[in-house]
């Protein structure tokens, strides 16, 4: 791969610079299938135009768990969009939109574990797309909330049917949203933060 020389690199716009006082960052991961609205949600709340970062991963040949030196391997580049919200002069929040069906993300140590929590974005036309990612978050103990994006032609299930279909316990919030609207996306993030806060309160008093 070629490095861009410094004069061809487009850095942050003047208004996208963080202040020197920025001391630490936290992250939230937004997961969901293709076309469910991850990039839209990141973009609607981000103070910067969404950017894309990528990572290269290799996949070993099918069915050969041992003797990994000998089988064919393919390298895969996975990309995710992200945005940024300055919380205070010291603290910055980053939002990462990761395609949910990709098992790759879960091998990225710290991507989910280091996140404050996750938002699972759901399109009721393809509910089953979210099953695997929800299971993986459960297995890893990553706290999450579910946001149902309101597409015009999508089936409208009553909330309790949706909760039953997703087999989610009562305490996990499920909210409707329109990822195109900043206030709606912000409300989803607030729902996640309140949920995390309630977990923190519960474990502090335990």
């Amino acid at each position: 791969m070629d490095f861009k020389s410094s004069d061809t690199i487009t850095g942050p716009r003047a208004e996208d610079h963080l202040p020197h006082t920025a001391q630490a960052a936290v992250k939230i991961v937004i997961v969901g299938g293709f076309g469910v609205g991850k990039t839209t949600m990141v973009g609607s709340v981000s103070e910067i135009r969404p950017l894309t970062t990528e990572e290269t991963m290799t996949q070993a040949g099918v069915g050969v768990d041992d003797n990994y030196g000998s089988e064919s391997k393919t390298a895969t580049t996975v990309a995710m969009d992200f945005g940024r919200i300055s919380i205070t002069e010291q603290l910055v929040l980053y939002l990462f939109g990761t395609p949910g069906q990709e098992r790759f993300w879960f091998l990225w140590n710290g991507l989910f574990e280091g996140a404050l929590g996750a938002v699972v974005l759901i399109d009721t036309r393809r509910l089953e797309v979210s099953f695997d990612v929800i299971g993986r978050l459960e297995e890893r103990g990553v706290p999450f909330v579910v946001a149902v994006n309101d597409f015009p032609d999508a089936p409208r299930y009553p909330m309790e049917d949706l909760r039953a279909a997703l087999d989610l316990p009562e305490e996990i919030p499920i909210v409707k949203c329109d990822a195109r609207r900043r206030a709606s996306s912000r409300d989803v993030l607030m729902t996640l933060m309140r949920f995390l806060h309630s977990i923190a309160m519960a474990s502090a008093s335990a």
Binding site: S6, G11, E55, A75, F82, H197
Partner: protein, 147 residues
């Protein structure tokens, strides 16, 4: 109409990653979001953290990087100069990766060198811990409310 039905899973220990699983950096098809959502079985390995020298700096996507000086030293490599110029104000590793158009793991290699040479400083992220800090969560909520 009945929706499809999922079954709940429960937390389990993360799988062990043995250190010998070093992948060949074979360059093959770039799969962007939406095209790569195959469900092939087989093991996956991420390149991050599995370099042979084994001592890459522990950098997160949201570690904030800031250059120590305003101008890169004349001895800096071109890619190092580019990176140093970008982080004259703090920038996350993810943003550096995006602006440089380089994979995250490549950026961490560059940054490891720059950190060793003390040309940049890293400001570690706050990660979720067993007992999340309530005041941190409250600060984030307060910040979101202002949006």
């Amino acid at each position: 109409m009945t929706p499809p039905q999922r079954r709940r899973r429960f937390p389990k220990e993360p799988p062990e990653h043995s250190p010998e699983q070093i992948p060949d950096p074979a360059p093959v098809p770039a799969i962007r979001e939406g095209q790569g959502e195959t469900n092939q079985p087989g093991r996956l390995y991420i390149l991050t953290g599995q370099v042979e020298d084994g001592d890459r700096a522990p950098l997160d996507l949201v570690t904030l990087i800031v250059a120590s000086d305003d101008a890169p030293p004349p001895t800096a490599q071109p890619e190092q100069s580019a990176l140093l110029q970008l982080c004259r104000t703090p920038l996350s590793v993810a943003e550096l990766s995006a602006y440089l158009d380089l994979p995250f793991s490549v950026v961490t290699v560059l940054l490891t060198e720059l950190l060793a040479a003390e040309l940049v400083q890293a400001r570690a992220p706050i990660v979720r811990s067993e007992l999340p800090d309530r005041s941190l969560l409250e600060a984030v909520m307060h910040g979101l409310q202002k949006l």
